[in-house]
Symmetry: C2
Subunit: 547 residues, 2 copies
């Protein structure tokens, strides 16, 4: 099965939005790489006048967000250029498997040119990084880097009418000294390949003549910093790889091998249900994988890490053979600079509104790990909502009047739905009933009081492939329907001005989480508070994702 | 099919030596890589006294020669250590296919530890390069290199009783300036992977905005220096890759692509039958691959090569996007230094005798591309042969007397057989007949005259995988039979001293050559002056090799 078709299917599911929760197709892929096309090319007849009328769209990035966007976009409507230093899309959930050779690197990548070719062929691709976004002049500056070229770096600029930023995030070292120099990461395919070679090197070096006991122990100590899903899955894969393969090839050093997971929090997998955390910790303890919780790495040297035990404040030094750093994501410099330019300099992550439009810029959209949706607080609009609902201008709101705006409130402020759910309420109208269930008529102060806590359930979306892929599909749908929705707006009613929003705001559907734990053990958290652990989970998960 | 089993089968065939010519199994492989062992390990019970009695053998290298040797050696007889910077064996004939993604890198390598594990597990492997051979003290100095290790370079020494040198050769730049800096090679798996990336980079760079016509032309000019089988196969593979895949992905630059083969001789594939050279040149001309014969590259710069046209002496400069250098092999520094140590400093290649024993050293053997068999001239021994044959000490030799030593002559001096064949003689005894076919009785001068030209057919063996693999299998067989052959010598009679040689000398069986030419076209040269060209050749070749 090709990654392409998977994305295709998954985005088809997203397109059904906003009807009910569907599951993202994340099934493992069996092949990829450069594919030969035998069909003859269609003759290229370009209508110059038509061409020039099209709006110029530049897309930065070819990760989950960018590719999901490109896949669903109708390329005949825009003059699209993709800019990315990676000319392939990587199926990142399989990177931990690449580190141990369970899955080949080639199987987890799909060339961008294959993906855009399968569309109507109107999309251009430039292998380059974006060095600067110039929102004032609607321009991006790019730099291509080809090591073997006589001119290794080449700068060029592209004008845009619409800019879609999907450059992702970079590894977050939290400014810990030595991390960039000595640690391995699990962000790119090259990272995974490098880890694979390094593990083998650690074993090869340990069996050399004259290698001391202590050196063997050090060399075969594999440390994973960060107990999130990626770090945990890598630890589990590495354990299996060592037990099933490497110990057979290097039997003389079996007794020296050790895997340690260092986690600053109290538990590994702490974004999962706590039953899953406990299950994973038990499984790891049985496998001999040491889990050090409540420990923060404060420095990495070429042969040891330095670690602070939070409870005691004690700092200890642990020799290692290889360290994999997997502790979350940070902002890329080009985004940092852009944020300063548009007045977001004091923020940590680039903010967009619910339509994925970058705040403080025009015609710029951002999605995936490089941005965060800054949900609008209902309370900021409460006066406007009251006024809009109070049709008879009586200064008070009846339940009937309130009923009229409830649907629009639910669409515009997704936190309200979370609030109702967490308070076990059936409908927002319950807020205008007293404890006996009788209708109340409220003035503005009473209305404020009734809705005082609805914003408490505002959440930032996690930096995951699921979010990025859903955002890409959402934004493509908006661009595809922009003409139609001008006359037929499908979004909620505006409270601060007349009319309706053109589009529904983006809303994330959480489709669960999955953590392979080595062997055939895995844990999954599915929508609706389902938790599954143990031997059959992996197959349950695949069967759900493969539908 | 695993490479291992192929080598296994091919070396079984070699073991049938000296009976008749068999074909080397060189069939394409479909898999490889790290393999998991599920069998439980046998308990290791080491008999220390037995252990200490075993002779120490060090094998340098894990290419065709080294691995073929290791595969066939009985590891229970020696205390074997393999030293090589590469912990895998590479199926080098498939490297040109790796450059274009036709075959994956993983499919052409087999980890050394898998190979030695499948034996009786008595062999040790050290991932290190040999830096110095100390023949006086029977010691090799080694250096391991692990980039990511806190101690990246580590030196150690190993004592040996027997040393088997199979380190191969290195790229020969003929001291042409700029080759090492700017050219790609086709010797290692990494080289092939790098070529693959560079070809794609050349295309990606060419479609960037603001790239001039001239730059596109330069960037998409692929130059291959050397028209031997490797260069020709790569040119053909690259052509197919471009036509079948890349032109579909980068249609806008199709017109700028060009492939050029530069050959200093008058024809490409000049070690093949001339019908094959002509066929290949016609095929290339039809495909639009330019062949520049009689041209010598005199310099390589970062964007152009400088080339001298032999016939006119004119020097021209050709811009390129990528150059692949494929012009033959040179001696590694460690071998050069060893040669000086043992009095071979004035030679170009390390010389061994017919038993693969390095001349000027004791208990040192060399095989594969790093060495050459220095065939003994029959004429140097002619007096001893005459004396041995002249049993009645009459001072003259009758045909009957000569008949008695003919078999030993044929075994000891393989050039004699070539001489007979090229002169269409049935038997060596024909040399002692006059033009009417009558027997002659000759004195020493007459004998010298009759055998004056037999050494004219002495040939150096080509630096090929076939030669290396046959030598490895031959030498392993000698080591396995050393005890038996002490009492039962199987080699030819010694003429300069009493008794027989312990072993038969090494004799190469030429199994033909094969050159894929792109598309489904190929040319093969089989034993017995068979030549096959055209569409079905590839399958003929495979069918022969797969028996």
């Amino acid at each position: 099965m090709k990654i392409f078709s998977i994305i295709n299917r998954s985005s088809k599911l997203f397109n059904d939005y906003p009807s009910g929760s569907r599951l993202l197709v994340l099934f493992a892929v069996s092949t990829g790489g450069m594919v030969a096309y035998s069909e003859s090319r269609a003759p290229e007849i370009k209508d110059k006048t038509l061409e020039s009328k099209k709006k110029k769209m530049v897309v930065l990035g070819t990760g989950w967000a960018g590719i999901s966007f490109i896949k669903d976009l109708d390329p005949s409507m825009y003059d699209v250029k993709i800019v990315s230093p990676r000319n392939y899309f990587a199926f990142t959930p399989l990177l931990p498997s690449v580190t141990c050779g369970t899955v080949e690197a080639r199987s987890v990548v799909e060339p961008v040119r294959n993906i855009i070719k399968k569309g109507k062929g109107e999309i251009e691709f430039c292998e380059a990084g974006c060095t600067k976004i110039d929102a004032t002049n609607k321009k991006v500056l790019c730099r291509s880097t080809f090591e073997n070229s006589p001119i290794p770096n080449r700068d060029f600029s592209l004008d845009y009418d619409y800019l879609v930023i999907a450059v992702g995030a970079q590894v977050n070292t939290f400014n810990t000294p030595g991390v960039a120099e000595h640690c391995h990461f699990l962000k790119e395919v090259e990272d995974a390949q490098k880890i694979r070679r390094t593990v083998i090197d650690c074993f090869e070096e340990s069996v050399l003549p004259d290698f001391s006991e202590e050196e063997k122990k050090k060399n075969l100590h594999f440390v994973i910093v960060g107990g999130g899903p990626t770090g945990v899955e890598f630890a589990a894969e590495l354990h299996d790889h060592i037990v099933e393969d490497l110990v057979q090839l290097y039997p003389e050093v079996e007794g020296y091998v050790k895997i340690t997971v260092v986690q600053s929090g109290d538990h590994i997998l702490n974004t999962f249900d706590e039953r899953i955390s406990a299950f994973a910790e038990t499984k790891f303890s049985r496998d001999g994988i040491e889990v050090l919780t409540g420990c923060r790495v404060v420095g990495v040297y070429n042969d040891a890490i330095s670690m602070k035990v939070k409870s005691t404040g004690e700092v200890c030094r642990i020799p290692y053979g290889m360290v994999v750093w997997s502790t979350g994501v940070g902002t890329r410099p080009v985004i940092q600079e852009f944020m300063e330019q548009i007045g977001q300099g004091d923020r940590r992550v680039l903010a967009t509104d619910e339509w994925l439009r970058v705040k403080g810029a025009t015609d710029v959209f951002a999605l995936g790990d490089c941005a965060t949706v800054d949900q609008r607080r209902l309370f900021d609009d409460i006066a406007a909502i009251f006024e809009a609902a109070d049709k008879d201008h009586s200064g008070t709101l009846t339940l009937d009047e309130f009923q009229d705006v409830i649907d629009d409130i639910l669409l515009a402020y997704p936190q309200v739905e979370h609030y109702l759910k967490s308070n076990h309420m059936m409908s927002l109208s319950d807020l205008l009933r007293d404890s006996e269930g009788n209708e109340m008529e409220v003035d503005i102060e009473g209305f404020k009081k009734a809705l005082a806590h609805v914003d408490s359930q505002m959440k930032h979306l996690p930096a995951t492939a699921q979010v990025a892929a859903q955002q890409g599909a959402y934004l493509a749908r908006c661009f595809n329907r922009v003409e139609y929705c001008k006359d037929h707006p499908e979004g909620p009613r505006r409270f601060n001005s007349p009319g309706r929003h053109k589009f529904l705001p983006f809303r994330y559907k959480h489709l669960g989480q999955f953590a392979p734990l080595g062997g055939e053990q895995a844990a999954a958290e599915l929508p609706g508070d389902w938790v599954s652990m143990g031997k059959s989970t992996q197959w349950l998960w695949y069967s759900i994702y493969a539908r």
